[in-house]
Symmetry: C2
Subunit: 147 residues, 2 copies
């Protein structure tokens, strides 16, 4: 197998893993916690942000979703009391999404379910060396993408 074929095969297997696992994880999280995966992602990023708040654009950059989609998901989270929209006094164009106490609680409840799902369907199939190899390869690809 040539180098080119190996790279293509790696990419195609990555696509298959993504297609197989994402729906499974989504269902598992939603069944166990009531949170769609996209909501969870947003809560996760907000939870790990300074003051548990992010401007919409920054949030969209961190989450694997378009800015448009983030705007709408934040709408839904606000209507469920998990997130609040907060004005930015330094720039009246921008809005902060801030995690509420309830949002934080729901996130903390959901996190173990999500992590367990990743472990069961993904990490547990790999040695730590393999997982590290995947992570470092993905980071190299991402770094090239941004540059």
């Amino acid at each position: 197998m040539t180098a080119d074929q190996t790279g293509v095969a790696a990419w195609e297997s990555l696509l298959r893993v993504h297609a197989a696992l994402v729906p499974i994880l989504d269902r598992e999280v939603q069944r166990a916690t009531g949170l769609p995966l996209a909501w969870y992602d947003v809560l996760l990023e907000l939870n790990s942000a300074p003051n548990r708040r992010l401007r919409m654009t920054d949030l969209a950059d961190r989450v694997v979703l378009s800015r448009t989609r983030v705007s709408r998901i934040v709408d839904e989270l606000v209507s469920h009391g998990l997130v609040a929209r907060d004005d930015n006094p330094a720039d009246r164009r921008s809005a902060y999404a801030v995690l509420t106490a309830e949002g934080r609680r729901r996130f903390r409840a959901a996190a173990p379910v999500y992590l367990a799902g990743i472990a069961r369907h993904f990490s547990d199939q790999l040695t730590q060396v393999e997982a590290n190899a995947v992570r470092s390869a993905m980071r190299k690809v991402l770094r090239a993408q941004r540059g």
Copy 2:
């Protein structure tokens, strides 16, 4: 970093790579060849199938798409003359999707563009050892999934 954190980080970086590259490859293929990525995937599987034909269900199993979606994409491909629906004389419930000569021609024209995109955005960032590591890790995950 614990084993668990490494696995989760690997999964999250995989999600980011997928989210970043798929739209780029889709645009590149579509701009250069007029074929949406989903069409390309279907043509690819048909092209490498025996007699360049597959039953709808088998096609859906191979492609990273639902059976529903495949049915509709085959409709579009038929209306563009790239694929034909063929009856299966042995089982009148089932239908074959068969690559036409024109479909084969279009696929062959598109393949280099797609492969070049994968190389440029993905494979070229990795050594062959790294690409092989990713491929073998993904296969292990997939194997566990099916079993």
